[in-house]
Amino acid sequence: MSEAIPHDPVLQQFPEVEWEEEFGTLIVPTTKATEVAIWLRDDHAFRLDYCSNVTGIDYLNREFKEKVKNEEGKTETIIHKDPARMEVVYHLYSMEKRTGPLVMKQRTTREKPEAQSLTPVWRSCELQEREIYDLFGINFTGHPDQRRILMWDEFEGHPMRKDYVEPFDYEWEPTPHDEILEKHQKGKVIF
């Protein structure tokens, strides 16, 4: 589609909303999400009437070091901190104005992941939010029908989470390789 949508009007309208320069996304507090979404959909300047994609991200707590040169030519080590969090990302387009995408994120904690469901605003979120609930375990308040969608109902855990531990079901095979070979060498196989 066409050029980037200006995000400043959103920040003026909602002071709680932040702009994340690195990824070019709006960060919306989970308590305000529905309100912002309805405004984006109905405001005449935006008319973002189509949510094309909803996805989840899981960040573990991590620190990483980067070496940079300062003005005096000395190398300095900067420690970047990346706190643990979970995010729900919405890609919004306007069919009416033929603009988009505008990317909007809801940020939540890893311990108690909860976000507001935007299904009442855009119907196309319904199945994708169910998928995020299934694979990431993020609870969507206000979702009309929040069930697992890909895994079976009895399934335990949320497999797309970074700390998900897969069930141990490595079996003996005649021609193992890679990871399975490693398990074989350690003698860790079921039957």
Partner: protein, 207 residues
């Protein structure tokens, strides 16, 4: 009947056969596959059945939407753990004698997704597979060849004693979902885990 006598008679214009041969010739050349596909391999199966590769030349073009009318199941694609009980249930609903072609690496062993948390490590754990058709995905020619293998197998079956005809007495329990896997993990009647040659040595080492 003696093969020599049979061909002598045939030269004289008399065609002899047995009920067994006639029956097998008939059903071998009119297999009705069940119309269902599970993943990318299904596309090749569909291509095989269409005009270019023309599965109809071998008499298996009548894809049936109901398991009650089908006698061949082509498991074409990745069998997820969520889908496996349904595949077994469909197989149970097919009338005997029934046949299974496991098409592609996924249906045979789980293929590229083998150690995934949601993919079954081969459909032969729950239902008896007649032809394993390797490939990812197999070419339509390979699908045709697997059908030929199956027809050969059918032609050599004895309708009075072959297990395919008393198949109805075999049990195929539909697996149930548990927290991480299916229960039972396999049907011991049709599949046994391969013998692990390292296992006894390890027991000694730990003892």
């Amino acid at each position: 009947m003696d093969e020599g006598l049979k061909s002598e008679l045939q030269k004289a214009g008399i065609f002899t056969t047995t009920l067994n041969d006639l029956y097998n010739w008939g059903r071998g050349n009119s297999l009705w596959p069940l119309q269902f596909g599970l993943a990318c391999c299904a596309i090749e199966m569909i291509a095989t059945s269409m005009s270019r590769y023309d599965l109809a030349r071998f008499g298996a073009e009548v894809f049936r939407p109901s398991p009650r009318q089908a006698d061949l199941m082509i498991v074409s694609g990745t069998v997820t753990k969520k889908m496996a009980p349904q595949v077994v249930r469909l197989f149970k609903q097919m009338p005997s004698p029934k046949y299974v072609i496991a098409m592609g690496a996924c249906a045979i062993s789980g293929g590229p997704f083998k150690q995934g948390y949601n993919v079954l490590k081969g459909i032969d754990r729950y239902i008896p597979v007649d032809v394993h058709l390797p490939g990812g995905p197999p070419r339509p020619e390979a699908v045709l060849q697997s059908l030929n293998y199956l027809q050969e197998k059918i032609r050599t079956q004895d309708i009075k004693s072959d297990p395919a005809f008393i198949e109805g007495r075999r049990q195929y329990p539909v697996p149930e979902f548990t927290g991480t896997d299916l229960e039972p993990p396999y049907n011991p009647d049709v599949w046994q885990p391969p013998a692990n040659p390292n296992a006894p040595a390890e027991e000694e080492a730990t003892a």
